[in-house]
């Protein structure tokens, strides 16, 4: 995986450098100039647009991997990664493991002590685990 990543990033760097060369060399027509995008201004980190793009492509590959591991269907993975914004991709790549996943399932198989504690906090109005406390 590590070597694949290293390989992939070298490839990406090469690809980006090559694609940016003709733009630098050719006399540019005013009409063909791209404006600075809103997203690049909004993202806090302005350092190195190329490196940013590489990181982003790697992050997307990373998230794709993680989603597959989390049991998402192969057919759906692409669309799900594509739907994420750059900052969401970064968030997911960095901390998907720790991210809370809203489930709303019951506390089944909890330890008796946990059951008692949650029962008390439910009665105190701090939690909302057992519907029968109200």
């Amino acid at each position: 995986m590590k070597t694949l990543r290293a390989y992939l990033s070298t490839l990406l760097i090469a690809a980006l450098v090559i694609t940016s060369l003709p733009v630098a060399a050719a006399p540019t027509e005013p009409q063909s100039i791209d404006l600075v995008s809103t997203q690049s201004v909004l993202s806090a980190d302005h350092a190195g647009a190329d490196r940013e793009r590489i990181n982003e492509i790697l992050a997307r590959a990373d998230v794709q991997d993680q989603l597959l591991k989390q049991g998402v269907d192969l057919d759906e993975v692409d669309a799900r990664v594509a739907a994420l914004s750059d900052s969401e991709v970064k968030q997911m790549a960095d901390q998907l493991e720790m991210m809370p996943a809203g489930a709303g399932g019951g506390v089944i198989g909890a330890l008796f002590a946990v059951f008692i504690i949650l029962l008390i906090t439910d009665i105190l109005g701090l939690t909302d685990v057992y519907p029968f406390t109200r």
Partner: protein, 324 residues
């Protein structure tokens, strides 16, 4: 001597024992005090009481009971259907549910909304803001931890109404169509997710009460997947709410440009530079448009400003200046 000593020993002993039990009692007492301290009613601003109607309930929000751990898809189906978007829980499950995690994560909740051509605006994390959205008729998807941090039970629900006199929040939650909950209990469970929640709105609308920063990020995220032309109406709505926001004007300029309205784009970039004289990106974009409109003198002064302010645009501004 010995008896005296023993006596004092036993005296000490009972004293110690009573001390200990007192301490235990005091500990439990303090613990309860602390816990109930946390459960005190969240203080609503006086202005909230004055500004909002005492009772609000958006009864038109449909209800889908969650099955298994699928509160994420169920809440999305409720708010999307309320926006007249055609979808259902079955269709949403493969789009937002993570089977291995038995749940759905926050970024994907927002991203899935955008897949249905709607915008997801995270709200300001206060009970006042939440009630404000409900009073305005916007149901709010909220994330809660129904349990304690050491044994979390993450949950999504849709807040649909409230009652101020009884300090009660009304939710579509889990398997309960109309779940009423005291403000204090709700706020305790909501605070454990740093009071996370969002409203759904169609392009071209911006619900009142969303912070400028949250709106910028939500609209920008929509633009990433839908392109600047599809986002133009939302930037216009943003400008109507925040006319003095330089980044908003800048974004509007980009959207106008993508929609082939260079004159409007130029005006927007000009406003952006008036609002923030140091916004190099706006100066650069303004300069490029002026070049295209064959106004080299004006372009030169705009590009000079861009070249003078630090950022990634500096280099490009200098290159363009060399060519004039």
């Amino acid at each position: 001597m010995t008896t005296k000593f023993l006596n004092s020993m036993s005296l000490n002993d009972t004293f110690l024992n009573s001390m200990l039990s007192n301490a235990r009692f005091a500990g439990v007492f303090i613990m309860l005090l602390l816990l109930s301290g946390c459960a005190r009613n969240p203080v609503l601003l006086q202005s909230t009481y004055q500004a909002l109607p005492p009772h609000a309930e958006i009864t038109s929000v449909p209800f889908y009971a969650q099955t298994e751990f699928q509160c994420g898809p169920a809440t999305l189906a409720m708010v999307l259907n309320h926006q007249d978007v055609e979808t259902d829980v079955e269709q949403l499950i493969p789009q937002v549910f993570l089977p291995e995690r038995d749940g759905s994560v926050q970024p994907e909740m927002l991203a899935t909304v955008r897949r249905y051509d709607q915008l997801a605006y995270p709200i300001r994390g206060t009970l006042d803001a939440l009630l404000g959205h409900l009073a305005a008729g916007d149901p709010v998807v909220v994330m809660q931890n129904l349990s304690l941090p050491i044994y979390p039970m993450w949950h999504y629900a849709v807040a649909i109404g409230y009652d101020l006199p009884s300090e009660t929040l009304i939710l579509r939650s889990g398997e309960i169509e109309r779940h009423t909950m005291s403000f204090s209990r709700f706020d305790a469970t909501w605070a454990r997710t740093e009071r996370w929640g969002f409203v759904v709105a169609e392009p071209g609308t911006l619900p009142a009460g969303i912070t400028a920063r949250n709106a910028l990020e939500a609209i920008s995220a929509y633009e990433e997947s839908h392109g600047p032309r599809a986002t133009l109406s939302s930037w216009q709505a943003f400008e109507a709410h925040h006319p003095a926001n330089a980044i908003g004007q800048f974004a509007l300029g980009n959207a106008f440009y993508a929609d082939q309205q260079p004159d409007n784009a130029r005006t927007a970039f000009e406003r952006a530079t008036e609002l923030d004289r140091k916004m190099g990106a706006a100066w650069l974009n303004l300069g490029i448009i002026l070049l295209q409109q064959d106004k080299p003198l004006k372009a030169h002064s705009a590009l000079t400003q861009a070249a003078a302010s630090e950022g990634e645009w500096q280099e490009r501004a200098k290159q363009l200046l060399d060519r004039i």
